[in-house]
Symmetry: D3
Subunit: 287 residues, 6 copies
């Protein structure tokens, strides 16, 4: 049976609209931060993976950056080691760093790679040490946080090579020091820095909340100016774990990335909807 | 305002589906015969043009072949010259051929080019004489039809050059003889021959009917085997103007084009729906 | 029999001289305006076509621009429509524009393409609408001339693509507006603008007179400075149909084309002689 | 001070000899299995890393494959999980596999990458899941070993991409099933299969013994024919952990790799000496 | 003054004819043997050099092979060394070979290079030792001729490199043995072997006679079949110094070179006339 | 037998060191002046030739420039012609120039080419006339030296073409005037000028002394500043035949060549030792 005329016309309009989006986004790169909490909840994960494969197929180049805080804590627990945090940053002694590396670059990273492969994509799981992507140094501060690092420089050549050769790069948020020391990086910051260094067309932070909320509103703000975002931090409206996310967005914007998005990764196809519609489903921060 | 969750999820599914189609069709060429009757009625024309531009943008390569029978008749009328047909073929004396050339390569061809340009695409309007695309000879038969031609050879190099350089080729169905004589070609046949010579992935005949109808059914057959199509011609179910269309489809299939489609060009976005859905809106003929 | 020594020596000298010219002109582009009057008279046409094919073969890249005023008038006559001119420009209402398009892009254009194909060359006949070569707007003035256009911008990419791929582009002097409207362009101006935009090495206007005549001289001026040409226009020595030709030459020169030539297209091989000899057969205008 | 003549002449000879080797080995790929025991002892590790960087610089393309058995056991111990082996293969339940992945792809892999980066090279640490390098299935046998895999197919395109772009690929011996399941692979076998699939010019197994010993000889056999190696296995002279190593060598030879080497990785610059001298320091197996 | 119409028409025809030749010969290579006797007489030398430069400029690739017998004899005389010949081959002891090398590769070769440079071309003078073009061994026979060689293999890669980069290669007829020994080669044979190895489109032997004469005819034969040429040698009509020339032609033809020509190099522009006319000025040998 | 551990470790260190040098020097060009006196003595010649082939193989691009003064004198003697020198420059009348050309471009040049070919390299012997490498004019001065030239311009394109295509260029120090006249060039100057024009990474002058000696020291100075070298000339410590050598070094340095070396070519592998060690065996002049 052929389609009924009415259904066919509606479908035609949707298809045309989808193609308009694809044409507008072709050959651009999108850096996606895939948050630990999303990975833990897993709800939208299946569609996220398929979305990445579909985007890649349609000529858009996604790059995935991930952390894995809760998995690290779980593994430390199992090893009988307590997790300590100062201002939301994990105190990372040498033994902890080893676990961070194992969990991020070993377990979390390869799980994502396997999912992408199973969904028909070609992924390569690397960490910020490979190809010296995230060159880092010890983060100095009033408290010694051990091997917590801050990014000094980003070398995008390996990412560009993989991305340009049909692979989806999946990058664990670990840095490398000049002497080969590994550094534990905040994944939000690392993703934002990569988006900035690559001149990405969009930076998308997938998390377990639906965006930034202002006051008592029940749905997140759709569009936020950078200045306003800064003000919301100052005023404490944006707080705690949301702060590094907004900071990462602001850093990407400051480096010329046109828009940064905070979106719920637990909603099916949230990535496509945020990329391909004007309203979107989360908060878009603009310069 | 962000999208409501329910609407966003639905939209996400449609977007994902559209991307799956785009991925499946990337870097393939589709030869589209754009029938004179569609051009006359004009209903779906606007969306056809946009569809071509969208497909091109998404990495699929459409090539348009067109005739323009009714416009030729109108112009001959204005010049006080009667149109004569034998078995559906226009008797084409020298003066008629001049008019054919003017209307097809001059008027109809450039009208399509302008529409594509206005819709944001890059089109190049040529005829089968350019780059010796359609090398033809006089069609011999019991009645002398004048400069009615049949195709001897197809040179696709100009089409490939244009198509591979970002342009949408728009080709008038005129042939060139070894001595430079112009020949009036049946546009359905010419389009089928081009699809065959290019090794196109699909051959789509846009016309003013919705497909092939069998018996008294109210909607067209969705899928038809080549053998069955031949039988329908023999049995007279397919008749008159539909015969060269089905023949062109069969020729394309015989040369290895995987599927050929007869679709109503008057329905909005019929091209996208036929390309991007399983059911489609017209009749798909398969080997 | 071998050649006699004396004849062989003479022939050798001619061949050597011809090769010197070819070497000097290799890989340069020459824009040739092929005037309607030449096409009407037809005398030198045969050799013109062969000359184009020979030049292309020898590594020089000719681009042909043509009008077709007298053929348009004839067709309008046949359709019972009067031709009206204001200051030498055809008043072009919508119906006239349709005829202009048919005659130029359909009839005249393809006739040239066929001749080139028959002479062994590879031609592609396009109009200024294809690839948005001649982007035009309505020519404003005291009298409303309808769809008479003036060129706003020239996009040479399609021409370069075809020219660089072994084809001889044959361009009808029609422009396209931002909204897709077709415009009737003066072919001399269009050719000059194309020569200018391409950075052609020569701009050659083939017409039915042998060049520019000064005073009562019986043979045309061989070389004319641009300033002197302007003076001849002001003084009325250059008048009527010759004015747009000289203007087109001056525009090409102003844009950096080294020399512009007005030559009789009715003389056999006039194109080769003008290109390949110092004296030439027409008038060369220099900056 | 310039060199003394005598010393300079000696040095000159050494340099000339080294260049002869480099010339002979340019643009060839060498797959190096870096054994867990070497990594544990660490003695020759520093020079191994430098050797890899020097080879890469001189135009030879090393690819490193590594396991990490003892580190896995250590981590399992810390997690209070017993290591069980059947015929030298680790019984790998789901929990064990997670630890294998973490240790190999996370800890061991990135440690090597950091060392290469510190030594001035560009390394990329991946596992056999990335780019679907090692496509595996469950190893069937009398005892259920859990996620122990055997290799079905090897996709070398990611390795070739990285190797050809100036990077040294460092590959953890993990496989991926058709459904995305991770498999624990014997690193010797995996390295041999990669050498075979790449058409490597040499396959070098670095281990903690100096080669294959025959009878009571005090130094290892320098050259061994494949047939003789098989006989030594049958006769029990080659036994236990050495069996998969010799099998991996034989598999590589069977696939056309010209020579396979078992060399002590604890000796400084053993890699260079084995590659660049006739005698070498370990056992070379030849077809 | 412009050209007179009559003269212009004649000139136009000549130019058209010359272009037809150039088109037919573009991108083909022509091996030209430039005989010692021509170099001695020098009459047509000036035009030969210009002809080579003109051909190169027009897209035809000439390669010059030269000997220099009389100059060698002169130099040996000056050094008080007698020239000895056996069957037309110079007995070449070590001292003689040194002189051969000096005269051919040093004096004659660079004189030609300088002339081409002065005429505006880019020449590179090499000998058959460079890039191992003429790999030779000692010619064995009843009499020991010393370092007279015969060609074993021809490596055309250096010639192709130079020819394809805009240079005219000028090659002295010296060969190199496997041990580096220089060999004195017959220049006719060497040129024929090079034409054969390159798959040249023509092989032209410039000498001081006008071609091959049959019986008592006063002008040379225009076209000769290979079989007939062999018969003329057998019958003694072709004799002495003409024998290696005809043999070289036959060898080139046997290897697939379409035509070989024996032409008087003392006649101005003989090369062009032979290449670019049907009758030519010398004898063309065809398969 | 495998290597003994102690020997293997030592060898490994040497190999590693050699690779470090190769890596540092890859893809750089080194201009080597090969002095007549070295060629005469012949001692280090064998290793020089092998060194060139080894360097080329390892990715370093040597270019050889040579003179041949003593061989010229010998040949002039044999021809009964006296050699006359003014300030170390050979008075070069036309007859002498012919001999210079024969000996340099014919005899000396091809001898080197043969040796390189025999050693497994691919050499092309040219002179400064080929490809107009050394464009020269008559050296003017108080005494007329005949065809002694000075370099006006250096065209490195032929050298770059050959060097980049795997050949070792061997260049005789002859120049070409605008009118094709050959000029006798000082080979030291010519080599220095070529090093300068190519932007070589090193300029090495092989001669029959071990470097520059200061005062009464018994071994040559290892490193010399350009200013100091100038002072040594002014003070007469550097004198006679060493002056043009030091001048050539200074000219190369002035044009940006980082270091210039004067080394004894009679010592085996002196080229490698000077290139690949810090101390070297001769005198290195630095800016």
């Amino acid at each position: 049976m052929v389609l009924e005329v009415h259904a066919a016309v509606d479908l035609g309009r949707s298809l045309a609209q989808a193609l308009r989006y694809v044409n507008a986004w072709k050959r651009r790169s999108v850096v996606v931060k895939y948050g630990g909490s999303v990975m833990a909840s897993g709800e939208g994960e299946g569609t996220l993976i398929e979305d990445l494969v579909l985007l890649k197929g349609a000529g858009i180049d996604p790059v995935l950056v991930h952390g894995g805080g809760s998995e690290i804590t779980r593994m430390l627990d199992r090893l009988g080691k307590e997790s300590r945090f100062v201002n939301g940053l994990r105190v990372t002694d040498e033994e902890t760093m080893e676990v961070v590396e194992m969990v991020l670059a070993g377990s979390a990273n390869k799980a994502i790679v396997s999912q992408i492969a199973t969904a028909g994509g070609q992924a390569v799981g690397i960490s910020g040490q490979d190809g010296k992507i995230f060159q880092a140094r010890k983060l100095e501060g009033p408290v010694d946080l051990g091997q917590v690092g801050e990014i000094e420089a980003v070398d995008t050549s390996l990412i560009q090579l993989l991305s340009g050769s049909g692979f989806i790069p999946v990058v664990a948020s670990i840095g490398i020091g000049g002497d080969g020391t590994s550094y534990n990086l905040n994944a939000d910051h690392a993703a934002g820095a990569l988006a900035a260094a690559m001149g990405a067309s969009k930076f998308i932070l997938l998390t377990d909340v639906s965006g930034i909320y202002r006051d008592e509103e029940r749905s997140p703000v759709s569009v936020l100016k950078a200045d306003e975002a800064k003000r919301l931090i100052r005023e404490g409206v944006v707080s705690r774990g949301m702060i590094p996310k907004v900071e990462a967005c602001l850093a990407a914007l400051a480096a010329g990335v046109p828009t940064a998005h905070i979106v719920s990764g637990t909603q099916p196809h949230a990535l496509l909807v945020e990329l391909f519609t004007e309203e979107g489903v989360g908060t878009m921060i603009v310069p």
